[in-house]
Symmetry: C2
Subunit: 334 residues, 2 copies
């Protein structure tokens, strides 16, 4: 791993006023909307002449949602300039979020050019959903400051950002990026190694691929797949996620009981994905992880929490459905 | 497939007053609570002397939630009798929900005995999460009336029920069970073939196995896995499910654009689950399924719907967190 020279230390978070968004399509434009809502000035670069009108439309569409979630003082949806010259866009930028199309050669060239033009000490994050920074940073002169900051669509509403460096990234850059995203209200997962697809995409992709297999084999329709999640386990996940959900499914014995008694179902052909061997080590790691996450919450506490959350989420979704949302039969009035 | 004799036709839904729950642990007890809340009399069988006290505790714990979601007229949490004699428990029952432990031999014997004791025309459903009715029904004299009615935990809050028959099940029994569950307010997916793990469990299991692999390999912690879902894609799924979520991710071109442009990522090692070959046939089936599910909703309509739903779900979860829920650090006051 590389080191950041003391003289190129990233800016203090409190001094941040200006960020650059390189590429302002759906993801980059969503980032721009989020930065604006948090009160920052955004300098954007996009080679398309249509980009400026498009990003304003995106920001305008997102602004009511961002307003509902709470704007920072001084937040202004017009506090953005769009440039076709990269060096011009990066002038004064204290952080760069790159959201170019997922084409490795393009990412490599763009990160090289951003690195060449950005001020010393500025951390440069890529929104890539699949490439590792190790493979993207190969042409950059200062790979120490390049990190992955992977958002979820839409970046202005989904809190998650996965942060991970490449082999040449300085630990300080990873650490600064994580603090920065937390500073602006994101839920940050800092990974200590590069894993293809990071974390959430791996989980989502496993589900997606199993779904595609089912459609390919006529085992389920698209509508059945979606409804099996929206009216099933999807109602449990916004509160507890998949692991703590199973911790509860084990009854008072929690995940330990679950793995010790239902472990054999890992051998069942319930998905096309083979399970890992349930070694004592894996069993203990999962149990300890659940216990740590549960903290002072016993299984009965978690069950009560789960039930309240499911009811509340159901009421939200039922309310939308009663208002005409969530149905292809007709559109809501408003 | 078998046939139901006309003289043994299942009861008219409007005439339903009494259901039997065979096995009243977490799942069976959850079913009992749900049937009671819908205004039915429940006759329960369980061999454990502790079962009666346990099911009353479960019903009492579930009742506030069920009350909040709305009780049927005359619903009474005490309208349940618990029996240790199976024939006695089944007296007067017009429907049977079996929720015994997931042990094939036990299921086979129990379904045989229930079938022998239940009145003619009564449909018998199993809560099994993994066995097919074809393999469970082998000892029953009247396999025509045996169906799978697979709920999700907790059955009194999660709407989904997956209904599927075995090779010897009469189509009328599958059809009646689906109508019955819908009649009592469930979201029913009727499958036309037996698939191990049905639908939701296959999807959930793929995600769970990928998560276990990540823990086993030190790629992610239990807490990171849960947070990657609760603060990430888990916020999108209660409204749209995984397929319609990706339909939106394709921009105005929807799922067609998504598959045509991001299809190559199916070859990426983003999960350990190999993707199916993206044939023209599969591509068209997924696109047509999304178009059908979207109905009159264009992608911009769906984006607006998604954003509203994410905001509402986030507010629900954020509200719980502000009140002290969702954290292992301390317990909420109430």
């Amino acid at each position: 791993m590389g080191d950041l020279e003391p003289r190129t230390a990233p800016p203090a978070l409190e001094s941040m006023t200006t960020v650059a968004c390189v590429g302002i399509g759906t993801i980059g434009g969503g980032w721009a909307a989020y930065f604006l809502a948090r009160g920052f000035r955004v300098r954007a670069w996009d080679p398309s002449p249509a980009a400026e009108a498009r990003v304003h439309a995106l920001i305008d569409a997102a602004w009511p949602a961002l307003t509902e979630l709470g704007l920072a003082e001084g937040a202004d949806p017009r506090n953005i300039s769009v440039h076709t010259d990269l060096a011009e866009a990066l002038e004064g930028a204290q952080f760069v979020q790159e959201s170019a199309p997922e084409v490795l050669e393009m990412k490599r060239g763009l990160l090289r050019d951003i690195d060449a033009a950005a001020a010393p000490g500025v951390v440069i994050a890529s929104s890539t959903s699949g490439y590792s920074m190790t493979e993207m940073a190969v042409e950059a002169a200062t790979p120490e400051r390049l990190v992955v900051g992977h958002p979820f669509n839409p970046p202005y509403l989904i809190p998650l950002v996965e942060v991970v460096g490449g082999e040449q990234t300085a630990p300080e850059a990873v650490e600064w990026a994580s603090r920065w995203y937390e500073f602006i209200g994101k839920s940050v997962i800092t990974m200590d190694r590069e894993v293809p697809g990071f974390i959430a995409n791996r989980l989502q992709e496993a589900l997606w691929r199993e779904a595609l297999h089912m459609v390919a084999n006529g085992e389920a329709t698209v509508e059945q797949i979606d409804r099996s999640i929206t009216d099933g386990p999807g109602l449990r996940w916004p509160m507890h996620g998949p692991m703590l959900t199973f911790h509860l499914a084990g009854g008072p014995g929690g995940m330990a009981h679950m793995l010790d008694h239902f472990g054999p179902s890992l051998l069942s052909p319930w998905t096309r994905l083979d399970a890992p061997e349930l070694t004592r080590e894996l069993r203990d790691a999962v149990v300890a992880g659940c216990d740590e996450e549960a903290g002072v919450r016993t299984v009965p506490h978690l069950v009560a929490e789960r039930d309240r959350a499911i009811i509340a989420v159901r009421r939200v979704i039922d309310g939308f459905r009663a208002a005409g949302y969530g149905s292809g039969a007709s559109l809501p009035e408003d």
